[in-house]
Structures are given as C-alpha cells and as structure tokens.
Subunit: 347 residues, 2 copies
Amino acid sequence: MNWTLASSAILCTASREAAIARQAVLTKPAGSLGQLESIAVQLAAMQGTDAPSIQRPYIAIFAGDHGIAAEGVSAFPQVVTGEMIRNFARGGAAISVLAKAQNALLHVYNCGTAYPIEPLTGVTDRSIAAGTFNFLQQAAMTETQCSQALAIGKEAVENALAQGCDLFIAGEMGIANTTPATAIASTLLSVDPAQITGRGTGIDDAVLAHKIEVIRQGIERHQIALTSPLRTLQYLGGFEIAAIAGAYIAAAQAGLPILIDGFISSAAALVAVKHNPSVRDWMLFAHASAEPGHATMMQALAAKPLLDLGMRLGEGSGAGVAISLLRLACDLHNQMATFADAGISNN
Amino acid sequence: MNWTLASSAILCTASREAAIARQAVLTKPAGSLGQLESIAVQLAAMQGTDAPSIQRPYIAIFAGDHGIAAEGVSAFPQVVTGEMIRNFARGGAAISVLAKAQNALLHVYNCGTAYPIEPLTGVTDRSIAAGTFNFLQQAAMTETQCSQALAIGKEAVENALAQGCDLFIAGEMGIANTTPATAIASTLLSVDPAQITGRGTGIDDAVLAHKIEVIRQGIERHQIALTSPLRTLQYLGGFEIAAIAGAYIAAAQAGLPILIDGFISSAAALVAVKHNPSVRDWMLFAHASAEPGHATMMQALAAKPLLDLGMRLGEGSGAGVAISLLRLACDLHNQMATFADAGISNN
C-alpha cells in the first residue's frame, strides 16, 4: 500500500489567481454567484486553465457485501446488492439515469458480493471474497484484502484517465454499508456512534438502537488495532469503501478532480485525507446527505457541499446531480462578459 | 386589474397520486431522492401527466428603475439598469449564459428605465415612465401605472405560451430594487425592516443603516394607504416587481408552472399569493437568496427552495441554475426501473 502515501498533484496557483481576477470583473456584483464562483476557481486551479470545463465525468460504482449485515442492521436483504448491480448494468438505477442525462461514463466494479453474479456488460468482476467478515467477530478484511480493495480504486482511476475523463465520481452499493461507514467516522473523529448513526435505507427505532450498539461493540472489540486510518478501514470498513478511498488517492495523485457524493463516500474521503492529507486539494463536495453523521464528516473535511436536497440514496447519485452545477459554474465563468467588454459602470 | 382575481388552474390530483405511487416503487429506498421526488410529483400534478418534463423554459426579465434610488440606497448608479439590458441582449449577463446552457427562451421587457435605451433585439419596450416615483415623496406608482405593469407580466406569459414554453421564470433588473422589495415584504409580513434588510449588490454598514431608515420612513408615510397587497405594491413597489406579480398570476391562471428566483421575485410572489392565494399552487422555488429577508419570505410562502448556493445576483439566475434539478427530477421519475421491472427484493 506504499503507493497510497505518494503526494497528490500540485494545484496551479497561477490559474487560480487568474480565475479569481476574472470573477472580479464579470458583469455581476462581486461574490453574487456564491459557490458557483468558488467552484469555477477551484476547477481552474485543478485543471491549470483559465477556462475550466467538465466534458466527460467518470462514475465508478464500487459494490461489495458486508459480514456485519448478519447482525440485522439494514432494512434490505443482502441479495439486493447483486440485484442492484444488474439494475446499474441495465440502466434502471438512479445513477444510471443520471449518468445518461449528464453524458457521463458509468462503470461498475464488483469488489465482492455475498451471492454470485453472472458476467455483465459494464461490470468488471474484481471480487475479493463473498463479502467482508463480520467485524463483531474479526477484522472486516485481512490486510491483503484491504490492499486489494484499495488497488481496485486505483484501477478505476486509470480507466477513467485512459478514456479521457475529466472528473471522477465514486458511487457505491453494499447492503448494510452505512454501518461500517459510521464505524469508521466514529473512530476517526472520536465521536460517539449514537450521535452520527442514521437510518440508512430506512430502519425503525429498534433497529437503529441495535445498529448503534453493533457499531459501539465493533469499535470496542478492535480498539487496540485501530491505530491508523488504514487499520480502521481494514478492521471496520468494507471492500467498496476501501476501493473508494484508493480511488480518491489515485485521482488526487493523477490530478483528476474528484466530486464526492454522500455518506459512504465521505467516510472513504475521510480515510483518504487522514491517511494522505494532500488528497484533500482535489476534492469537491456534491451534497449534504440526509444521514445525520454526514454533517460531522463535512465539518472534519472543512467542506461545504453544493446541494442539500434531502437525498440519501448512495450510488453516487448526489454527485450525479451536482455535475450540472459544476458545468453551469464553468459556463458562467467562461462566457459572461466583463464590465469592460460590456461597457458597464462598475462601482 | 379585475383579471388578477380570477382563480388559478386546478392541479391534476390523479396525476399527482399516480406520480406518488410510481415514486414508491422505483428502485430506491422510499424517499431517498428527497426534494427530487417531490418536484417530480408537483410537476406531474401541474402538467397533468404521468411523465412530467421541462422541454422549453421561458425566462422573462423585467427591467425598471426606481425613484427611491435618489436616496442613495444602492452600490451601483442607476445608469447600470440600461447597461445591463444591453448586456442581456448581447448574451453577456449571467442569465444570458444560463438561458443558453439550459436551452431556454430569454426575453427582456423594459418596463421603464431612467435613461433611454435604443431598440434592441430580444427587448420589448413597454416603458411606463422613466422609473417610478421616490416613495419617500409620493406613491411609487399611480394606480394606472401599477395596472400597466401587472399587464406587462400577463403579456409575457401569453408570449411564453404562444411559443410553447412549459416553465415560466421571471428575472429582474433594476438598480435599488432590493429597497422596494424589502419595503413590500416588511409591510405584508409585519416585520421590522431592520430584520430583513440586506446589502443588495454590496453596500456598507452606513448605507445599510440608511437603507433601513428609508424603508421605515416609506412605510410610515404611506401606512394608511397600505390596505391591500396591490396597494402596497403600488405605493412601495416598482414596475418590474409589479410585472412579475402579474406574470405569476397569469401563469397560474393558465396552468403554466412557475419557478421562482430570489429576493425580488419572492417579494412579487408574496404580493401575488396574498392577493390571489390560488396562485401558490403553481409555484416551485429555485433557491435561497443570500439576502437576509429571503428566508422570512420563504417561510411565509411555506416554501423550501431547492438550492442554497449563496447566490444574490437576481436576473432570474438562481432559477436558471435550478432548471437542471427540475429536469433531472423528471428524468429520474420517468426512466428509473421499478422493483418489479428489475426483479429486486423490496422490503
């Protein structure tokens, strides 16, 4: 896993400054486009250009099952992970619809599901095992498995670059995966699970109380081993969460802008940034998840997400929506007239 | 102004219920698309269809000058109203860029500027006068002028319908127009101006204090006359604000969905809804303006805007951005697979 510690690409300071200067002379009151201004400036710095643009986003969905699902922490049965992989491939899932609407490339990486899946177009089989281990009984992954999962993310970024994509989005599918994501966030942020555990796909009060208890016990069981972000990922995480963390690190190293989705991908982002802080420079944040722990993670990452639509679907869907905002921010930055162009009196 | 009291078109209950039923069986946890679900359901009810869509939005920019600008309440000189009309026509303004990106029709209605403007393509001259009167000295408009301004909005809706548009957005341009908009909101909501007056295009603390005082004095001066929403509009409003209110009423009467922009258009929305409550059914809300009084108006209109990007530009720019969300909401509603289609286990 040595590759994960290499520095990220360097943002272009000259392009950032040129973009800030341009925003100041566009025909609008200073700052009046709010976050659309800062997004354009960030993309200019990432792309090293005066005229940032998003032509072809790459959406990688990482799927995996979780041993912890055996504890009854989710509203859906584990067979749904595989069923949804088929739905992604057939174009029926929310992220499939969004990818088509946004002219994005969508590809699924199967990191290991509990039930076998036939070969499918648009799905790469990188199964590590038939799901992770139950973290109440042992580490969710072996060290080797965790390395394998991180490498799947790196492979996805290489594929995105090979296809000329200019924005990286990670989505995920894995029944019960808010449980490992919450366990990771609780550990890395030293927060009581009760404060950040949510209902995921829609569990009731009794299951929520049980889920909190499961997370507490898992953290307690492995306390001594949780000495680093990657060890936390290995002991409490999941294949798809590790793949996303690996993808974020690889994207930042390659200088590929990242648009972070919701709860699960933010837990992966937290692992990536705590492990290799230089990765943070390449992250944009799509939306505030309705999952209660998400705001805590955003605060820890000093992030102000673009959207707050009460979404909590996963799959990369919040990022799939926010692509529109990135593109409009670029259009405004590139196409608006300046005060001088338009002969307008500036105060 | 009798036409303004006629009932709005009736929403289609059957389409609304069918849309709610469809959302419940799409392949996602119930409610997990948040506001994108409710937007699709509202559009289905407005359009009377199972498959709502936004093909061709109409963006009408109403421009007008304000006598109250003489009191020094704005950061920009009044000549900018006309300069920006030229910028809209040439395609250099934020809303021009957004209209192009969204494949929307953009048309400017000049309701009356302080400085004369040459004929321009894309601009209809409906000048009522060279700006309103200073409301510290007399009513901003005569009753006839207010009627004329309301009728300009109705004309814009007729043009939108004649061109087959399926969404109505009002934008505005008028130096100093946060002052009349705040005066209207203060009056109709019985709120002290100090609580909802903001910096508009960017005034400093001293000018802000003066602006609050001007608004207070205006309300005090006309208190006895402010007996109805339309009288408030006439005494404290502006040509473009009245045109927007008229447009909203006419759009609702014609059954044309409305996407409300920010601070100024929300003040017009407040007038329209207080005057004719049936108009509210046809309103969707694009964004939370950074202007402090906007949240108070949204509360009064029982509205939860889609975006909160810190925008405060006007021109209809927040609505121009939010068109993307309406379209994605429709795509998700229409194109996602159901649990039955996809053979997925629902809990």
